[in-house]
Symmetry: none
DNA sequence: CGCCTTTCCATTGACGCCCATAATTTCCCA
DNA sequence: TGGGAAATTATGGGCGTCAATGGAAAGGCG
């Protein structure tokens, strides 16, 4: 498997360390990045995390702007400037910085949530309510889609 | 890691010395430049800093203009003319010149901010407000992008 | 000869690295 | 297919090293 999937909740120990779930570690291992690339998610109280795949995404975004342009400097500041590469110890654990923890409201436990090419780290309570909300939206969207398909089929459309 | 990422705030001591963050030092070490290449950022109260990678970028920028052209002379003056190479002591510290400190409004503490191939040195307060502003811009662009994609999908475009 | 800068050493607190343990989970074989 | 052994995971703690910082000694320049 080379995608991050499923969600696992784990506790921080007295030193603030937390194990990266084993399934995520194998994906990271395949990716080849040394450490864990992290930054505060732009529009939600969570941490985006991953390896080279995630960093290249950021790099590509910034690379679109011309050097020394106003936009490029601002994007680099907001993206690279808030990124961190956390060290992973021999047991597969990381220590989240205070900045990251504050952004996500993390205290003593976290939920790792797979998002394909990257994953997010949430405060478990916030994750569950966010998940409930997202599930509602997806349900609504799904029923909307199926009714559209039903309508297309009813009028004889084929593909 | 061969990129400058994250931000670290450190204090100047009584002699005006300040440690370059260890993570930045390793990137500089890999870059191979002896010392720290610095100049006042062109359009903001910050100091641009880096090694060979930064110098080549400037060289490339100036090289785009035709020799002896007015623009070339001006760029060369603004960039090369204001550049300094700071000495790094045995403990990885530098002393910022008064010119640089005045340009950035630095007094007793600085924030080192990674921008990928280079990093910037800010007065911590100014950095935080600049970061807030830049983050807003990135958020705006992100939502703009996602709504464009939504629109494309809605009108049936495929790729 | 004094001042300023550079180089060297000291402290302390944090962090990286190592080993130990317990609870799973996986695997194997009867 | 069930039971048990082995490997893996999550977690706890100890200890040495390094980073950040402060200060003193040494060297150069006016």
């Amino acid at each position: 498997m080379n995608r991050f999937v499923s969600n696992i909740t784990l506790r921080l120990d007295s030193k603030g360390r937390v194990s990266i779930p084993a399934s995520f570690r194998t994906v990271l291992g395949r990716d080849g990045f040394d450490g864990l690339y992290c930054y505060p998610a732009l529009d939600r109280p969570a941490i985006d995390a991953g390896g080279n795949a995630l960093m290249s995404e950021i790099e590509a975004l910034i690379g679109r702007f011309t050097p020394f342009s106003e936009e490029r400097e601002q994007f680099a500041l907001a993206l690279y400037g808030t990124s961190e590469t956390l060290k992973v110890d021999g047991e597969g654990r990381v220590v989240l910085s205070d900045t990251l923890k504050r952004h996500a409201g993390i205290t003593d436990a976290v939920s790792f949530v797979g998002l394909g090419h990257k994953f997010q780290i949430w405060e478990p309570g916030r994750f569950h309510s966010e998940l409930a909300e997202a599930t509602q939206k997806v349900r609504a969207l799904k029923s909307e889609l199926s009714s559209q398909v039903a309508a297309r089929n009813a009028q004889g459309a084929r593909e």
